[in-house]
Subunit: 344 residues, 2 copies
């Protein structure tokens, strides 16, 4: 009479039984442990394949305290830059045998804190995060770090790593390049629609902007510098304000593409000619900037490169951790590039 199997899934014990070996040896063989004969190893691997064995992640994780799962928190997956980064991260991690739990904070600090908590209690092996624009206190990530889990911040990162690795774009250069481009295109009266200064993203872009202005002896009109959440509506009200005074700008840097698009729409409604009367530069190379008329000059951030870098660093960190080495990786700055289009 055949044995009644309750579960469909074959376990390590089934392999052990089939090969007349102990479960310990099977486990070792599957994990490529050095102290197991090549012959046994292949036998185990073959049998595992034959029995269609799949490791039970939960049992494995419970014992070894590893989940093979990485947590990711982004403000919004629908943002083009993040969507590209996520895709790259996922594809790469997949190759290394890791799962990815993707979470969205919707740019809410409360949500971000809650998600961090959830991911922590889900025992992710590491956390990758692009923070909220309003995250100035990074205390909610400490738990992970204290627990020895690698934490990588990208795009929106704290000023100082407190045990985390930082990978961010060259925002200073981005701000510099876009202002410089306007200056070189002959603009004299340049405005800047930037994001909240709570984020060093915009601190750096602003610094780059100022640097370009200063170096080229262009005066900065303080009323033309906006620091506000970079929404479509905010950009509209900013541009409206800019154009209701006597002297109007002839060039405008925006720190995201949605704002650039809003500005462009305003000019269409008001009959302002772009690029003749006003030149516009965006930020991020959102696909919309390429298809709008006129197409918008913007800053490319190379999301694929960012994603690749993140995974490379992460795998290194995990490997180092495995071997007891705990090196704090210095911040990595990824390049940016100006994409010239019809708006300038």
């Amino acid at each position: 009479m055949a044995k009644e199997k309750k579960s469909q899934q074959n376990t390590i014990l089934d392999i052990a039984e089939a090969l007349k070996l102990s479960p310990a040896t099977i486990s070792r063989a599957l994990n490529n442990h050095p102290y197991v004969r090549e012959k046994t190893k292949t036998a185990v691997l073959d049998m595992a394949a034959q029995l269609n064995y799949r490791r039970n992640q939960m049992a494995s994780g419970l014992r070894s305290n590893k989940t093979h799962t990485i947590g990711l928190i982004v403000p919004r997956i629908s943002m083009f830059f993040h969507a590209e980064v996520i895709t790259t991260i996922q594809n790469n991690l997949h190759k290394h045998g890791f799962n990815l739990i993707i979470c969205q904070s919707n740019d809410s600090l409360t949500m971000e804190t809650a998600l961090t908590e959830i991911l922590f209690s889900s025992r992710v092996d590491a956390l990758i995060a692009a923070c909220t624009l309003f995250t100035t206190d990074f205390g909610h990530f400490d738990k992970l770090i204290e627990d020895g889990k690698p934490v990588i911040f990208y795009d929106r990162a704290p000023m100082t790593d407190h045990g985390a690795t930082i990978i961010k774009g060259d925002d200073f250069n981005g701000g510099y390049l876009s202002a410089l481009h306007l200056i070189e295109s002959g603009c004299k009266r340049i405005a800047h629609i930037s994001g909240p200064l709570t984020s060093n993203l915009y601190q750096n872009r602003s610094a780059g902007f100022f640097k370009a202005m200063e170096t080229n002896g262009i005066e900065v009109n303080r009323d033309w510098i906006f620091h506000q959440e970079l929404t479509h509506d905010n950009a509209l009200s900013a541009i409206a304000k800019l154009f209701q005074s006597g002297t109007v700008p002839d060039g405008i840097c925006t720190d995201n593409d949605s704002s650039a698009i809003a500005v462009l729409q305003f000019t269409k409604e008001q009959g302002i000619k772009v690029p003749e009367d006003l030149k516009i530069v965006g930020y991020s190379n959102d696909p919309r900037t390429a298809i709008i008329t006129p197409s918008i000059t913007t800053i490319e951030q190379f999301p694929k490169l960012v994603g690749d870098t993140i995974v490379r660093v992460l795998i290194d960190l995990l490997r180092n951790k495995e071997e007891g080495i705990s090196v704090v990786t210095p911040p990595i700055i990824t390049p940016v590039q100006l994409i010239k289009r019809m708006s300038t």
Copy 2:
């Protein structure tokens, strides 16, 4: 001499010890088991909070065979429709205490199969999938279904549920509405750029298109019906072909917005006036259709509604499963709506 604690994390045993109760009772209290006194329950909950207890998902999952994790497979998270659906799903699931593992198939059947396998072996409690356009055999999902895990297909779904629940947009109506709109706008020579007929998405949209044409006595020119992957380049070559023959169309339905945008770009290059010479309808209400000039008439698919529906159904399925009821939910069709813009 104080006891040395190895792990930072408090477990159920710590609560048990603190309250002089057994771990069993703690577990029951935490899971809101009926056979535990209200007094004990609150005492446990209080102590849990005080000790900052977090359930170990892996231990819990190992024993109960539940992960509180849902798998999601989409072709591409960067597609606007999917990004919106995902966001909604995630926010809703989060409220119900579920994690979400988001995976991208990149519209590759091989990838989709691999991901399904991974999610299965990660023991997700359920799977939500928007399939590849080329998924005609849904066998790789059978494992999950046989294992009793709820499977929900949305957007791109098989014709017949084999134990899975289907939630999809009203594609027939979408195709019908867009063709009807062109007809009512006076178009006589209408082309259709549709997707591969391996997906019933496009079968249905085409059927709707034909219905509208037939009902209104407009003849269909078979050379003007394209079934191909809906990429930018494919759309360009299709429109080029349409405009190199003697009689040219005066209206064109496209089954996604990228194609509509490609068509619009072609018309700009060729000096064809939209909407005067050619009217264009897209599909999905991608944000780009609203900002391009002229803005493109398209079909709204209500991604938020789709996401809400998915989660509602999923929670129902899981609850039913809990109670041993196994009802197969009939397919759900979500509405679509024509958004009129400047291209028609």
